[in-house]
């Protein structure tokens, strides 16, 4: 006991040295202080627990937490601020800090402490909330992971709306409301039960490509054991709700990013995964949801943007699977679920997406087409400068509209201009509030 305890106490000292040498730079100074304070509190608490451990079993427990803390410090030390789009992160943090909150000792609605990481490729988009189980933690960390390869591709980053859904689901105060939405609105019809979903998947009217997918799955996978042996039905339900959350947070940009990214990961749009429902179901209900929420509103025929907006939505409709088997929710179901989500998210501004006016889009899209970052700045007829607060999601929407309009503009240029616009808009907002 004494040898192990002595060793672990020495490791605590080593960790304190490591902590003191790290987190010195590359974070905004406020963040650095918070991370340092949090790690120090965790270490002090653990050190005391190790010093007071009554037996070997207790020591064995503490060593796990000590290792986790060492890994956390090393992860935090590898700041990736130059590897992700910090203007987008700035805006995403505003949303996450508004809604991913808890009641804590410090007060009501304490935001989680956000840490951002760039790593890997396409499939790394993730928001990982720290567990709420008892542990040597004080603040809860929320780790947002961006694909390193997509640093400037801010239009695609809209897909993180889905991941925000998971993070919101894991806030104690929102969990009941989120779960109620699933129970009341999602779990009907095809999703009335695991059996009902499996029956639909193995239905004789399922499209041939879907039947082919099932044949390629393990032979032991059958309608009767699909859930829970091969897929997690509750996880599917949560994924669906998180898609709807993403839609209500990012609007049309979320639909566009899911269409592009899901079909790039699964070009045939066939099949499903253990934790995710069929890709084609997801795209269909998102396209339906966008209509229900009025995101697909068109300007009058004579409006200069009418053709561009028509083209954008027509492009998204090409991702719709037309066989009725792919439409798993009724309009009424979606309407109720989306309404429930809007009610929750609207209580935490700026979380909810607000539909821009056509005048706003008419200001942004032509700027982008002239290769000018689309921001809320202009020169009025009398020569005076005008500054407006433009929501970064409207900048992203203008980027998606431009992406499908003519003349075609390279997609990396559109993304960089939108990223610059988000950054410039932050500066404009600061100037406006000064």
């Amino acid at each position: 006991m004494a040898v192990a305890q002595e060793f672990l106490l020495q490791e605590c000292k080593n960790l304190r040295d490591l902590l003191n040498k790290t987190l010195r730079y590359k974070y905004e100074s406020a963040d650095s202080r918070i991370f340092y304070g949090e790690c120090s509190a965790r270490l002090a608490s653990l050190e005391k627990a190790i010093g007071n451990a009554a037996d070997l079993a207790a020591l064995g427990q503490e060593v796990i937490y000590l290792n986790e803390l060492a890994n956390l410090i090393c992860r935090l030390e590898r700041s990736s601020i130059s590897e992700h789009s910090w203007p987008f992160v700035h805006e995403l943090k505003r949303i996450a800090s508004a809604i991913c909150t808890e009641d804590t000792l410090a007060g009501a609605n304490t935001p989680n402490q956000i840490y951002v990481l760039a790593d890997g490729g396409l499939d790394t988009y993730r928001i990982h909330p720290e567990s709420r189980r008892p542990a040597y933690t004080q603040k809860r960390l929320l780790t947002i992971v961006f694909p390193k390869s997509l640093k400037h591709f801010v239009l695609l980053h809209s897909i993180l709306g889905h991941e925000l859904g998971h993070a919101i689901w894991r806030c104690s105060k929102h969990k009941r409301e989120m779960r109620d939405q699933v129970e009341k609105h999602i779990k009907e019809g095809v999703f009335a039960s695991p059996d009902a979903t499996a029956t639909h998947i193995y239905s004789s009217v399922a499209p041939l490509n879907e039947k082919g997918f099932l044949k390629a799955c393990p032979a032991s996978m059958k309608q009767g054991n699909l859930f829970p042996n091969y897929a997690n039905w509750e996880a599917w339900c949560e994924e669906i709700l998180c898609d709807l959350v993403g839609l209500v947070i990012f609007g049309p940009s979320f639909v566009a990013s899911e269409c592009e990214l899901l079909t790039s990961m699964n070009p045939s749009m066939t099949g499903f995964g253990p934790g995710h429902p069929p890709t084609a179901w997801r795209l269909n209900y998102l396209l339906d949801g966008a209509k229900i929420l009025g995101y697909d509103a068109r300007p009058p025929d004579a409006h200069p943007l009418r053709a561009d907006i028509d083209t954008f939505w027509a492009h998204l409709e090409t991702f719709r699977s037309t066989d009725p088997w792919y439409s798993v929710f009724t309009g009424n179901q979606l309407q109720r679920a989306l309404s429930g989500m809007k009610t929750l998210l609207s209580r935490y501004p700026p979380t909810e997406y607000l539909v821009p006016t056509f005048d706003r889009l008419q200001h942004l899209v032509p700027m982008l087409k002239r290769q000018i970052p689309p921001v809320g700045f202009g020169i009025a007829n009398d020569g005076s400068r005008t500054r407006e607060n433009v929501d970064f999601r409207h900048i992203l929407f203008s980027g998606w509209i431009t992406k499908t309009s003519q003349p075609a503009m390279p997609v990396d240029i559109i993304n960089k201009l939108c990223e610059q616009a988000i950054m410039q808009q932050i500066a404009i907002n600061i100037a406006e509030s000064a």
Binding site: T124, S131, R133, E163, S172, K173, N229, E239, G275
Partner: protein
């Protein structure tokens, strides 16, 4: 490859018990209660109360929105567990509530206990008569978990 491996065991119950014991000990030691390292056990107890208040103990991990998934695992993806990690904690919370606050609703109990924890963390002490209730609750909780 790692130099060793072992089965993961959930330590939530033993930690919750330890944190509850620490909280009652802080009530006799205001200096220790305001110490920065005391915030860890007190915040953990607060978080447990919030999970209790909203029936929000479930915490299954989900993969990322685009995570590649396959069915090639030879094992079923959902394993049979004896009971969820939080069952002993929930049972102990319910028992302590019955013993100390027999006539109050769950929301009322949680609000009072949270107020007590905030006072302890901020002032190093809890005002009477709440102090006796908080002490009684966490003593019962630590004993029965």
């Amino acid at each position: 490859m790692s130099i060793t491996s072992r089965y993961e065991v959930d330590h939530s119950s033993s930690l919750a018990k330890r944190f509850a014991g620490l909280a009652t000990s802080y009530m006799d030691d205001p200096g220790a209660a305001k110490n920065p390292d005391a915030q860890v056990p007190l915040e953990n107890l607060f978080r447990i109360l919030e999970m209790y208040r909203y029936d929000a103990f479930e915490d299954e991990e989900r993969s990322g929105v685009l995570a590649l998934e396959g069915f090639d695992s030879p094992l079923p993806i959902v394993h049979t567990e004896q009971s969820p990690w939080h069952t002993p904690i929930l049972n102990a919370l319910e028992k302590a509530r019955r013993v100390v606050f027999p006539a109050e609703t769950k929301d009322e109990v949680v609000q009072r206990l949270e107020e007590g924890l905030r006072q302890l963390s901020r002032n190093g002490r809890i005002a009477d008569p709440l102090a006796a209730h908080v002490r009684g609750f966490f003593t019962s909780f630590a004993t029965s978990i």
